[in-house]
């Protein structure tokens, strides 16, 4: 674990209020993007993000670094909050209304594309074969278990498991390549 993350975790466990600001600056955009993918509504997503950070603050002392990374832990909290929201009666009611006006959806997806475009990484997500991406997204962003993926996609459990394994390694390869490309780009620019 990086020293910086270790420091953040210690401060979170000690209830140092300033650490929330640090965590927010570092992770809020990633969490918000995923929450938005799940709830598909900006106002609701902001509520969920706020609730998630309050939970992160309250439960900070119960986080165990051994059980997974800080980001994964935070993502679990955010994701569970978002999923709970989609199951609530008020959410179903409000999305029914929004279904009449699709602009909300379009606005958020537009923003997402812009975001990846601006940082020059558009296409990275597309480089991951869809058969891996679907499963990783369902598990990582929507909180499905492998068994639930099996039922949802009607794919044998063994296949789901191997796709998780290969998909993650693919992801690592794609990002490594991207990093090499960036380094090559920087070197060529300097040269």
């Amino acid at each position: 674990m990086k020293r910086k993350e270790k420091n953040i975790i210690q401060r979170l466990q000690k209830k140092d209020k300033e650490v929330i600001s640090v965590l927010y600056d570092q992770y809020s955009a990633s969490l918000y993007g995923i929450i938005l993918k799940i709830v598909q509504d900006e106002v609701i997503a902001q509520d969920v993000l706020q609730e998630a950070f309050l939970k992160i603050w309250k439960n900070g002392s119960s986080y165990e670094p051994k059980k997974g990374s800080l980001f994964t832990w935070m993502l679990n909290i955010a994701r569970n909050n978002a999923i709970d929201k989609t199951r609530s009666a008020s959410f179903r009611h409000s999305t029914k209304i929004q279904n009449l006006d699709q602009t909300v959806y379009h606005n958020s997806s537009l923003k997402m594309e812009n975001n990846t475009d601006v940082i020059g990484l558009k296409g990275i997500v597309d480089k991951l074969d869809e058969k891996y991406r679907t499963i990783i997204d369902l598990i990582y962003f929507n909180g499905y278990t492998q068994k639930e993926v099996e039922e949802h996609l009607n794919i044998p459990l063994g296949t789901v498991k191997s796709r998780v394994r290969i998909g993650l390694r693919e992801l690592r390869r794609i990002f490594d390549e991207q990093k090499v490309n960036i380094i090559v780009l920087i070197i060529s620019l300097l040269g």
């Binding site: 600001s21 809020s28 997974g68 975001n115 990846t116 990002f175």
Partner: protein, 256 residues
């Protein structure tokens, strides 16, 4: 399970995605502690997954952060969070403070008004006194005016001697009313310790009519003397003399 087999078991990936059971997680941790390569593998896959999540990152509006920090601050102060109870607890105190404040305010206001009333009363008394004085002065002036315009009043003009050439004094003399009034129009300032004195000349004898100042502004009533032939002004020691110092005759005027 040996290290290679474990690396290919898929458990590490499930661990990174957070879908392992607690038993499986414990097993991964055990291997991670034992083998640096496995630790490294976990770290790399985590980074990849987090990078992947970051592809969807969207910056939330700033007010979300403000709200979060505010709520955390409020959680930190239990008194503020249970605002209903807190209000019930503080209400009597607030009421007491408020009434004390009000009472003090009214007390101050009362004092202020009392001060204003006193000032107004003083001013009224002053004005009344001035008015009384002015009225008396006015009556006196009217009386004196009546005296000098009376048909029986003679105005005797006294002119200066060589000692006081510019001297100009009038004596209004009324034998019917038995009244003599002095009107100083112009006289030189007397030397220190000296004062002017008015005399009536009756059959060659100077009779004292009283002392007066050089700067008399109103008509000054003097002693009335019967049958004066002339009025004379001399300079005398302050308080006047029994007999005039004729060498210091300043002004004189005949009655006839």
């Amino acid at each position: 399970m040996d290290k290679e087999k474990f690396l290919n078991s898929g458990l590490i990936e499930q661990f990174v995605l957070g879908i392992t059971t607690p038993e499986e997680a414990a097993e991964v941790e055990k291997y991670a502690e034992q083998y640096p390569e496995i630790r490294e593998e976990i770290e790399q896959l985590r980074t990849a997954v987090e990078d992947y999540a970051r592809q969807y990152a969207i910056h939330p509006p700033d007010e979300v952060k403000t709200n979060i920090l505010k709520e955390i601050d409020e959680l930190d102060q239990p008194a503020a969070s249970s605002s209903n109870n807190a209000l019930a607890r503080w209400l009597p105190m607030v009421a007491i403070i408020a009434s004390l404040f009000l009472a003090y305010n009214q007390y101050q206001q009362k004092n202020q008004l009392a001060g204003q009333l006193k000032a107004t009363q003083d001013e009224y008394n002053n004005l009344q006194a001035t008015c009384k004085k002015d009225k008396a002065a006015c009556l006196e002036t009217q009386r004196l005016y009546a005296s000098i315009t009376n048909g029986n009043t003679n105005a005797v003009s006294l002119t200066g001697t060589a000692l006081a050439p510019q001297a100009n004094v009038i004596v209004y003399w009324n034998p019917v009313e038995k009244q003599a009034l002095l009107n100083v129009l112009d006289l030189p300032k007397p030397p220190k310790g000296k004062q002017y004195q008015l005399w009536a000349d009756v059959d060659g004898e100077m009779i004292d009519m009283g002392v007066f100042n050089q700067d008399e502004t109103t008509l000054k009533p003097m002693a009335f003397i019967e049958n004066p032939e002339s009025f004379n002004i001399t300079l005398e020691p302050e308080g006047g003399s029994e007999h005039p110092t004729v060498e210091l005759l300043q002004a004189a005027g005949k009655t006839g």
